[in-house]
Every structure is written in structure tokens, then in C-alpha cells.
Point group: C2
Chain length 528, copies 2
């Protein structure tokens, strides 16, 4: 009943004003009629089961995995196809109701909170994998398809989709937030791997950002290692792994809409299909771990590994605090020092060379305890610390919540920013083990914080702001992969400058003139 009142109030703001002199009874009648009319419009489009007003469902759709408080929507819709999404958006548009797209809720900057109430579009029922073109290495997915579900679908094709932000996020949600993760150093982020999007705008218009059904071409180089017999009788590897030699999109037809919607965090439209670039599953995988005497030594090794041309698939950094947490959590015995977790993808033959080169480099930088493994079981054991980092961090302070903050700087500045950040954490009595996609200059502090301690929450808030500003002074960005959401809007202004923000606002107004799409995310509300 409270909910109905809340929704009906939103439904009738103008009529409410007009009616303020009339009696309460007729007002309530009008509200109730409008509410009934909207809900019945929703139900007629996506069925009884497609409309939920239940408190638990709304609560579940009002928060992500960050510390931003739950802001439940007034109603949650579960459309089954793009036509339903479009029709529902039209209803919302006609009634000035905010629209918040929802994938899996695994975001980290408060991107799904219904800060102005409104209607959550949960896209989980649109979960089909469409139009797989094996020969062309591309596939189209609906927004209910998660990255694990996609890779499970692809299992027998020899192909996979490598972008991996950690969580089993919806692939369309990953496009919406420009996600990346551990494999980005080799395979790129969602920006490079999104070929086309189907998007429903706030008024229900359906567009295709690269033209309907088009899959802008990439030149694909999938390579196997070849050997030539040398005059000496030795074998010479004449073609290394070049999965990524050329993935350049070539079209100069009009404005690049695809890359405008990638990373727009639901503020410009609802992504209802994403066409993705796929990759050949590597013939073999090797994992490795190595400890270092200092952050500098670990970063130097990373730079040199990349410079040496080893096509490394993942190169992850954990600091001493994180390693200590992992040792405790998983009963491991890694030296409590900065540590790199590495993964190599390639042909059986090439991997040995990659690993040897990497080991040489790490040794020359004082790295020790270099361990590597090829079979899945040992690989998983080696990488256990990295995989469990989140839970290990949480276990440092039982009853607390973890919150990952994210910045990105030029690789050359990484040692300095990590050292300064660790000092900052100690000085401010904060628990924040560090894990980084070090090949990209991108790292996270996994802040472990007592959600019931407002003073500590405030200290964490100030810390994350200092961290982001530290990255900005080093020519970096306030967010490498988590996005802006609610949490980094002020920092975005500092990064971009007021004029560029005004341009972003202009683009938002052009595509969403009523300001209904995921209100108050990325851009701050205007002071009127």
C-alpha cells in the first residue's frame, strides 16, 4: 500500500499540483486510477509474472555489490524480448517514470540504485545466445546471458569470450559499464570487443549502433606455432601466437555510436543485444606465481615481460597485505611480499618459451619462488590465492563488508602510487589489501569496512577520493574499469573538466530529454 502510494505520487506529480485545491477523495481516486492504468499497461505487455511489486524483489534490485545503500525501485519488470522492453519504455516515458536497467547487480559504484524511484528493467529473462558466427568469430547475446553462460554455450566451438571482470556479470551489463578485468592485458576490454549494440532509448525507440545485423569486420589472426628445421638440425619457431595481431575495426560510416553506449552505464538507453568478438580457445594454458622483494621489482618485471613480447594473458599483482590474508584464508604459505600471478595462453610448444622468458626476467629483478603449472588442478592450486582474494580480504575482519575501489595510472607511476597508497592506508587505520591488473596500470584496494561505523565509512570515502586524485595527478584516470556510477561523479568532473562534462550532459539530454534513463548516474543532477 505504501508502495502503491509512492508510485502513484510519482505518477501524478503534475496532476497533483493541479488538483491541490480539490478534495482529497477525488485526488486519491485519480492516483489510484493512474496507478492501475500504468501497472495494467505493464502487465498487458510482459504478463502478470513480468511485473513485481514485492518488497524483497525491489530490495534485491536496488543495490549492487558496493557499499552504496539500497535504493529500491517502485516496481521491477521482467521483459522477455526487445519489443516488450520498447513498449514498457514507452509507458514509462509517457508517465515520466525513471528507467533503471538491471543485469546481475554485480556493479561496484552504485549504478543500479533507484535514486529517484521508478521502474527497474530486470533483463534476466532475455537470456538467449543468438547468431553465433563461428567462421567470423562473433556472436550476439541478449542481456540475460552472463559471461560464464556464454562461455559454457561456446564450449564445443573452440571459441571463448575472454573479458572477465571477476563477477559472473551479464555481458550486456559489462558493455554498459565498459568492464574489463584480468584478461584485458591481452584481449582488451569491452570497448574493443563490442561490435554492435541493440539499444532501446528512453522513448522506446530501438536502434542498432552499427546498423541492424552488421558485424563490423576485424582482421583476425589466429595462429598456431610452426617450426622450420634449421640447417643445424634444430627447430626454429617461426610463428608465435598472434591471436591479437589485428583486431582493428574498419569503418568510417558516421558517428561511432557503439562506443558512445559502451560505458554509458544505462544513462543513455537499455542495451538489449550485444554483438561480441570471440577468440580461439588457447591450445594450452600455464599458470605461474612469483614473489618479489618490492613493488618496484614486481612492476619492473611486468613491464619487461610485456616489452619482451611474451603474449601474456593475465598478470595480476597482490601486495603483501593481500598475500598475508590469502595465506591465512586458504592455508597457503606464500612469502608475505608483493607477488605476481601469471597466466600464459598458447600452443604447447610456445608456452615453454613464454614461461622461460618470464622466469628469466623475474629472476633478474630479484623475484623468487617462481612456480608454474600446466595441468588444471595444479594451476588452480597456484592461483587459489588470487581467486580467493575477495573472500580472504573479507575474512580479515569478520562481519565487515568489502568494497573494491579502482584507479588506473601509467605503468611507470604504478610503484609510486602503490607505495603512497599503502602509507595512506596505514596512516588512516584502514584495511585495504591491494590487488591489481598490473599489466594495465590498474589496481584495486579491497576496502574491508564496518558498514555500521559511519566514522569509518567516512574515512574510507575520504581515502578513495584521495586515491583517485593521486591517480589524476599522475596522468591517470579515477576509474579504470568500475565506472562512475554514483560514487565517482565529482571525480569525473575533475578528470574531464567542466566543459567536457557539459558536452556529456548535452549528449545525455539529446538521447534522453526527460532525464529518465538511470537518473543521477555518471553525471550529477543539475542545480536548477
Amino acid at each position: 500500500m505504501l508502495l502503491s502510494l509512492s508510485l502513484s505520487r510519482r505518477l501524478l506529480p503534475h496532476r497533483h499540483c493541479a488538483l491541490q485545491c480539490r478534495n482529497i477523495k477525488s485526488e486519491n481516486v485519480a492516483r489510484s486510477a493512474a496507478l492501475d492504468s500504468v501497472l495494467s499497461a505493464f502487465r498487458s505487455i510482459c504478463g502478470e509474472d513480468g511485473v513485481s511489486l514485492g518488497e524483497a524483489v525491489r530490495e534485491q534490485h536496488g543495490k549492487d555489490e558496493s557499499v552504496h545503500r539500497c535504493r529500491p525501485p517502485d516496481v521491477v519488470l521482467f521483459p522477455r524480448c526487445v519489443e516488450e522492453v520498447s513498449a514498457l519504455a514507452k509507458v514509462c516515458n509517457n508517465h515520466h517514470l525513471p528507467i533503471i536497467p538491471f543485469g546481475t547487480g554485480t556493479g561496484l559504484e552504485g549504478g543500479v540504485g533507484a535514486v529517484k524511484g521508478g521502474v527497474c528493467f530486470s533483463l534476466r529473462n532475455m537470456d538467449q545466445v543468438l547468431d553465433l558466427h563461428q567462421e567470423d568469430f562473433d556472436v550476439t547475446v541478449e542481456p540475460g546471458v552472463t559471461r560464464k553462460a556464454l562461455n559454457s554455450y561456446l564450449r564445443d566451438t573452440g571459441l571463448w569470450f575472454p573479458v572477465d571482470p571477476g563477477a559472473d556479470a551479464s555481458v550486456c551489463g559489462m558493455a554498459a559499464t565498459s568492464a574489463s578485468g584480468t584478461n584485458a592485458v591481452r584481449y582488451g576490454t569491452m570497448r574493443e570487443n563490442t561490435l554492435n549494440l541493440e539499444v532501446v532509448l528512453a522513448d522506446g525507440t530501438i536502434i542498432h549502433t552499427a546498423g541492424k545485423g552488421r558485424r563490423p569486420r576485424y582482421t583476425i589472426s589466429v595462429c598456431t606455432l610452426k617450426y622450420a628445421v634449421l640447417p643445424s638440425g634444430g627447430l626454429n619457431a617461426i610463428a608465435f601466437l598472434f591471436y591479437l595481431l589485428s583486431i582493428f575495426r574498419k569503418t568510417s560510416a558516421g558517428y561511432n555510436l557503439t562506443n558512445l553506449f559502451v560505458g554509458s552505464e544505462g544513462t543513455l538507453g537499455i542495451i538489449t543485444k550485444t554483438t561480441l568478438r570471440l577468440y580461439g580457445i588457447p591450445e594450452a594454458v600455464v599458470s605461474a606465481v612469483c614473489s618479489f622483494p618490492s613493488v618496484q621489482a614486481a612492476v619492473d618485471s611486468t613491464v619487461q615481460v610485456l616489452q619482451s613480447g611474451v603474449p601474456i594473458a593475465r598478470i595480476e599483482f597482490l601486495d603483501d597485505v593481500m598475500i598475508d590474508a590469502c595465506n591465512r584464508f586458504s592455508s597457503l604459505s606464500y612469502p608475505v611480499t608483493p607477488t605476481l600471478f601469471l597466466e600464459f595462453h598458447g600452443s604447447e610448444r610456445s608456452l615453454e618459451e613464454q614461461v622461460n622468458t618470464t622466469e628469466d626476467i623475474t629472476q633478474s629483478n630479484g623475484g623468487s619462488d617462481f612456480q608454474w603449472a600446466r595441468d588444471a588442478e595444479t594451476r588452480n592450486r597456484l592461483w587459489k590465492a588470487r581467486h580467493d582474494a575477495w573472500y580472504a580480504a573479507l575474512a580479515l575482519r569478520p562481519g565487515c563488508k568489502a568494497y573494491a575501489t579502482d584507479v588506473c595510472v601509467p605503468l611507470s607511476r604504478l610503484p609510486q602510487i602503490i607505495v603512497e597508497t599503502k602509507e595512506d592506508l596505514i596512516e588512516n587505520r584502514l584495511t585495504g589489501p591491494i590487488a591489481g591488473h598490473v599489466g594495465d596500470g590498474n589496481f584495486h584496494c579491497l576496502m574491508v569496512v564496518d558498514p555500521n561505523d559511519p566514522e569509518e565509512l567516512h574515512r574510507v570515502h575520504l581515502f578513495t577520493e584521495r586515491l583517485a586524485r593521486r591517480a589524476l595527478t599522475m596522468d591517470g584516470t579515477c576509474t579504470g574499469e568500475h565506472g562512475v556510477g554514483l560514487g565517482k561523479r565529482v571525480l569525473l568532473c575533475e578528470e574531464m573538466g567542466p566543459m567536457a562534462i557539459q558536452v556529456m550532459q548535452g549528449l545525455k539530454d539529446a538521447l534522453d530529454p526527460k532525464g529518465l534513463m538511470n537518473p543521477e548516474k555518471i553525471l550529477q543532477p543539475r542545480v536548477l
Copy 2:
């Protein structure tokens, strides 16, 4: 005087209406005063020398290298810095005068014609190379810097900028048109190599698309070939060339403005600085040429070369007609068959492997006369046919003009579209030798046409439309690198669909509400 009248008419359209009942004399006085005021505002900003009303100068700035007719602007300005560009734009904005940015005029789709008159901003006096960061492999250039001037500036640094559309275009102009060219198969297009832009909007606002001074990071892999001694005594190449292993930009901070302006062809703003990604100059270069019995054999070889992992730098296709023309023009004796021109960049050691692999592949596809050369002189001789293709095509019909049209399709469709296009050319009695960046699925017909024969011009026009539509039916794009300009606006609508075009128009309106920026390019004028 005619010019002054024309400009003054544009200056006073509204006042003209308001004054229509008054006498002619007072109207002329007002016009003349407004004209004087605008021109003197221009002169006070960029000096006497910075404002040209001369007919020759205006004619020169009213056309590019296409067959689109010259549409001279009313006045040409030569600003010297971004502040002048901004101040001049404000004057234009206040007087509703169209603004047409001009780099070198080497475009191919009529992008610089002043179709509604107005003010040409020639940016040739802003020709400084700024902020070279050798360690970070990036540089910022003003719009008067051409790609050859930039590479000449970089000569002693060990770095170069590889995007090469053929013409010695302005690098900022290349960003504006999303140019690519022969090296794209390895180094990408302007989309991948533009890190940040300074842009002056129609109202004079200056923005930086990635934040002022920011140079979003790429992970750079510059690699040299290393050899390990095998137990057998042979050498094993353990690291091939990986210049391009990872050039992924990592930021998820707000809307991607950089990629919105790249390819916007001056319709959204004036690019006054471009920050570019640079590359290490390859240790050595090898060029090669090979003849094929069929288009299919040449394309199959291309695909296999790419798939084999050879990091080929250029792979250019000339058809039999083009080769015949080159033989005649340059007194060469290549077999008159489909031919590939190849270029390999790498370390001394790796190049031999690359060339051997490529030769094996071409032979297995029936390729013959495989020639290769390492020293500059022989290389130039080998590639002479490709370098002179434009002039060789022109020489087929003395007195005619050449016009290059451009489409791009999936590589697998390339043989079919080339065969069909050659049949079309013969059927319609057109001279159009074919040259293609075959590694990208991108090719050009170099139409040689009598500019004084309207019937032939019409046939060429119909042919280019058929060619583009053929590409569209094959999932391709109507332009891989020349852009839309005036010539491909209808085709862009067909490629993108009316809704996406409406979105593009909305973005244009948001950034340029008065429609002053390079009017009628990319998007057709609205029917009111």
C-alpha cells in the same frame, strides 16, 4: 564586391526580413555595417593576414580531391592558436555563419565544400608538434602538422606514426575523418591511435575529449626477437615481433567523447589538437611482390598469411587492370594478373622467417614471381607500381580526373565482390582499376572519368552506389576509410537505419544547435 554582398546577405538574413519594408538604402547601410563589423572582428582576432577574401584562396578551400564540385567559402581564416579559433567561432556563432574546418583538402567525399557558404577555418598556421613523450610513446600535434611532417620531426627519436592514408594529410584532419590506409592491418586506424582531442565547438567552447593533458594509457609491447640455443644446437626464436600485443585503452570514466569526434568530419567541432599513439621504428623492412592466377588465390593467400601469425605491415592488392596500367605508366613488366604488394616490419632476424612463411603460402596458392628486397632502393623499385597506382590510373585516359571510391567487406566476401564489381565496370563501360588494403577487406576503384561528360559522371555515380550497396548486402560498410562527406549520405542511412541516423542527428543538434559546423556533411539536411 559580389562576395561582400553574398557574405552580407548571409550575415543579415533575419534583419533582412525585418527590414524588408524599409528602403533599400538603409538596408544596404546596415548590411555593410554588419559585414564590416564581422570582418573587422575576424581581423582583430587573427590579424590582417589571417583573413582572406581572395577568390583564388576561396576556390582553393572549396574543394577536396574528389569529383564534387568546388563550393568556395565566403571567407577563409588562418587562426594561429586555439584561443583564436575559439574567438573566431564565437563571432561566427553570433552571426549564424557556417564554419568549415580545413586541413589539407585531401579528402575524397566532398567534406570541405561550403555548401551553405560561410567561413573556412584553414588550420595550416597551427603547425606545432607539442608534448612528445618518448617514454610513453605519445605526442600531441596541432592541425597544421601533416603525417609526413610529424614523421620527419620524429626521425631521430626511434619512433614513428604509421597511419598512412596515401595523401600527406593533416593528422588532425585524419582524426576528423577517421582515416586509415595501407598500414592499418598492423597498426590500426585513427580510431585506435587517437588518445585525446582538443576540440573547439561551434559556440567557441574548448573541450578536451579525455580531460585536459590526459593521455589515456596503453600497455605497450615493443619486442625484439630473442634466440635460445636448443639442445640440438639450433636456434629457437622465442619472441617474435609484438609491437601490437596490447594497445588497449583502459578507462571507464564517462562517455567516450574521443571516439565520438574521431570520424565526425568537422560536423561536431574543430579539432585543434590531437594526442597520438606512436610506435617504435622497425629495425628492418622488407618489401615483396607476388602475382596470382586469380583474385581468390590472392585473397586466400592474404587470409593464410594473417592466420599464420606473420605480423605483416602492409598487404596491398592490385587487380589486372591496375597492374596493366602501372606497367604502361612506369615501364614495368609485371604479369598482368591480380598482384599482392607486401611489406614486413621487424628485427633483421625475424624478417627472413616472415618472408619465408609468406612465400610458402603464396606458392601453395599458385602465386608466382615472388620477389623481395631489403635495401631501400630495391624496395622502392618493387613497390613502384603500388606507389604510382593513382597516376598510372590517370594516365589510362589523359585529360580525365581520377576519383577513388571505397568499400569494406568481410575478407571471406572479398573475392566475390571484386569479381562482381569488375563485371559491373565492364558492363557499364567504366575505367576503374582496383587497389585494395586487402588485409582489411577494404578496396578502392580508382574511377577515371571525363569531368566534362555528365552522362559518364552519372554512370560513375550509379556504379559507386551499386558498389556500396553490394558491400552492404555482404554485411560490409559503404565506406571503410574515406568517410561519408557529401557523397555517401544516402548510403549511410541505408547502412545505419533511420533510427540510428536520428540519434546521430540528435547528437549533432546537441553539440551544434545552430547547425553551423560543416553543414550538410554526413547527415542530410532535414526536410522542414
